[in-house]
């Protein structure tokens, strides 16, 4: 029979109780976080228990505690731009020279000749990420973003032209923030 000073005998209660303690804490966390709190919170806003649990786990989108706007109206993505290989190709094919010509026509009145804007209400575009400028223009074009002037400007241009303009402004030297 093993002696009580045998490290293995000495260790047995440690192994058992440590495992029980750590597992219990985790179990309590799972029960509270994924079952009890979501179900109770969801019930107060009319969400059934199954939906609340799925939302707490992230299997269904949305908060387990509150009805979402998307529960009543179909969701519209905040942006239609997805960086597919087709879009990446449009950006890769963009020509700053073509963009410059178009920018002279439609952009410079507000955003300035080299992308340094005419006033604080217009953002500077010089040296910004071309992909970011393209995305914003595309969002105006698709209606994901709305603006009294920009929506009409962007709707009048096709996607490759947006990419050209974005490439032109991205290529301009960054303005010093401390002139």
């Amino acid at each position: 029979m093993a002696q009580s000073s045998d490290p293995r005998v000495l260790d047995q209660p440690w192994r058992i109780w440590a495992t029980i303690a750590v597992s219990s804490i985790m179990l309590v966390g799972i029960l509270l976080g994924v079952v009890i709190i979501p179900v109770v919170q969801g019930r107060s806003d009319g969400i059934d228990a199954f939906t609340a649990i799925c939302r707490a786990l992230g299997i269904l989108p949305g908060s387990p505690a509150r009805q979402q706007v998307s529960d009543r109206t179909p969701p519209s993505p905040v942006s239609q731009v997805v960086w597919t290989s087709g879009v990446l190709q449009i950006l890769a094919d963009a020509k700053p020279e073509r963009g410059q010509a178009k920018a002279q026509e439609v952009c410079v009145a507000c955003h300035g000749d080299k992308g340094v804007s005419m006033g604080p209400q217009f953002p500077h575009l010089a040296g910004q990420s071309g992909a970011a400028i393209y995305k914003q223009l595309n969002d105006y074009r698709s209606g994901s973003r709305a603006h009294p002037q920009m929506t009409d400007v962007a709707k009048a241009l096709d996607e490759p032209t947006l990419a050209d303009i974005a490439a032109y402004y991205a290529a301009q030297p960054t303005r010093s923030p401390n002139p």
């Binding site: 495992t19 750590v22 992230g58 299997i59 992909a131």
Partner: protein, 539 residues
């Protein structure tokens, strides 16, 4: 000087050189963000400086200090030669090559991405490959620590591993677990993006993998301070460690509850559902257990010392402690900063309160106070304690050491407390300059200047620290009989359960917790991939 002493000193001096450079950069950053230095420098220079400051402090200072300290503990606590000394030097040089590879792109302005790896912004691949080499060097260190403990156990069957070494191996284990997250992020996502092999990147997955590393890494930095608390402070104060078992439990609990908790850094991230955030936040709260165990045990140990020195009454023992000794003084100051920083941490941990301080200066102030304050002041104390052993020379007077510790404490409090307040006022973090002409921002100005004064005091303290160590190399006072370093426990352990003498059980539990806490949150990115972000390269 023994070869192993040279090994330790080489690590420490690399760590402290990086620390000093980073202090200069930090002071410059405080200056240009203040009304006094507005309009100096460009945002590009600011973010370059913040990157260099963060990388130096968070990766170079810590990793090299912890490796050097680990070698020192392995030799002095186990009383046997370091196994694989050649490997240790190889790890050192791999780390140095890594640091050089990282610094060059930073200085060239091709890596101003800060020290956090948050795509889609990516730096030059050399920046990441360099940091991978630093981590690879530290992995060799981890293996050497494990081998040193295993060899000692073979020679001393059934004996309890000395607490300092047990804790060092706990830290090595923790580091091996910790670095898996960031290594996966770098190897599978960031480096391919940085090399131009892919044009888009799943930023949510990258942030999740980084969160795996981000909290536990803080405990990797913190554990040397706790090793000092448990094994050096009671001896320096003239007493005994109240409980050896409490020490072992503390380091085990740090190993378990620093890993499946990183999602509290993602409370505002939309990719993760409430349930997972709740579970990981609950586990985060359990980090309070080893912290409070330590406060209790070390206070009890200091009380023993104070009473042995003649302290009477409920609080009389506090005054009787030898506060003139740097290790004791640093512990007192570290506890004060840990108190304030811990309080701030509780706020960050709360889902609702975190929403208020998210991405504000509060966060920056918090991690400066808790890491730059409580942890780094203990790095100073450890360096002061072991420098005479490494150099064989004695300080002429401890007065400049005490002055340096006080300056660090005062500087850190004066810098970080107004900084916290600015965060509550809404001051953003990661912003290069502020328009103080704006009436709302103008109100922040005076507090930013107070914070800047604290930063300047810290710079003076950093210079004094390096001077204090450097003069010891030229001191003419030899150490005749080094006093014992490690504290005895009130009841020294003769036999401990295998679970408190090794890490087999705890590694299994960590694995189970990690699978439960991070399994689905990571798997969801593969099961249902979200639209990826366009990679934005700095080079």
């Amino acid at each position: 000087m023994r070869n192993v002493d040279r090994l330790c000193l080489a690590h420490f001096w690399v760590a402290f050189a990086a620390f000093l450079i980073a202090c200069f950069l930090g002071a410059w950053q405080m200056w240009v963000r203040s009304p006094l230095g507005a309009n100096i420098g460009t945002p590009g220079q600011y973010f370059m400086s913040v990157t260099a400051h963060g990388v130096s402090m968070a990766y170079v200072l810590t990793t090299f200090f912890i490796m050097g300290f680990g070698y020192f503990v392995a030799v002095t606590s186990l009383n046997r030669p370091l196994p694989g000394k050649g490997w240790a030097w190889a790890a050192f040089w791999i780390g140095i090559v890594g640091v050089v590879m990282t610094v060059i792109p930073i200085v060239m302005g091709k890596a101003s991405v800060l020290f956090t790896f948050y795509p889609p912004l990516t730096a030059s691949p050399w920046f990441y490959i360099g940091l991978v080499l630093v981590v690879a060097g530290s992995w060799i260190w981890c293996v050497l620590m494990l081998v040193a403990m295993r060899d000692w156990k073979r020679e001393n069957p059934g004996q309890p591993v000395p607490l300092a070494m047990f804790a060092t191996v706990a830290n090595a284990m923790l580091w091996l677990w910790t670095t898996v997250g960031v290594a996966a992020e770098l190897v599978f996502q960031v480096i391919p993006a940085s090399l131009g092999l892919v044009q888009t990147i799943d930023a949510g997955l990258a942030r999740t993998l980084f969160s795996w590393t981000l909290h536990a890494i803080v405990y990797f930095w913190l554990i040397p301070a706790y090793i000092a608390f448990y094994t050096m402070v009671p001896r320096a104060a003239g007493g005994r460690l109240y409980s050896d078992t409490m020490g072992r439990l503390t380091f085990i609990l740090f190993l378990i509850y620093s890993l499946p908790v990183g999602m509290h850094h993602l409370l505002m991230d939309p990719q993760h559902a409430n349930g997972w955030k709740f579970i990981q936040t609950l586990l985060t709260a359990f980090v309070a257990v080893p912290t409070l165990l330590t406060i209790f045990t070390i206070t009890a140990s200091l009380e023993i010392a104070g009473r042995l020195r003649g302290g009477r009454g409920v609080f009389g023992w506090i005054g009787a402690l030898p506060w003139d000794r740097p290790m004791v003084l640093a512990t007192g100051l570290a506890f004060v900063m840990l108190g304030f920083g811990g309080f701030g941490g509780l706020i960050n941990m709360g889902y609702g309160m975190n929403a208020m301080v998210h991405n504000t200066a509060w966060i920056t102030a918090h991690f400066h106070l808790i890491f730059g304050g409580s942890v780094v002041i203990m790095y100073f104390a450890i360096a002061y304690e072991i420098w005479p052993r490494l150099t064989g020379r004695e300080y002429a007077s401890p007065a400049p050491l005490r002055l340096q510790l006080w300056l660090w404490f005062l500087g850190m409090m004066v810098m970080t407390l107004p900084w916290h307040w600015l965060g509550l006022e809404g001051q953003w973090r990661r912003v290069a300059n502020f328009n103080y002409a704006d009436p709302i921002i103008a109100g922040w100005g005076p507090w930013v200047i107070v914070s800047l004064v604290g930063g300047m005091v810290l710079l003076v303290s950093a210079l004094l620290f390096v001077r204090n160590l450097a003069v010891l190399h030229r001191s003419t006072l030899p150490v005749h009989q080094p006093r014992p370093l490690y504290a005895l426990a009130v009841h020294p352990p003769h036999r401990v359960p295998a679970s408190l003498n090794g890490f087999g059980l705890w590694n299994v539990l960590v694995l189970v917790l990690m699978v439960l806490a991070y399994g689905y949150p990571i798997a969801q990115f593969v099961i249902d991939p979200s639209p990826s972000a366009m990679v934005h390269r700095m080079h």
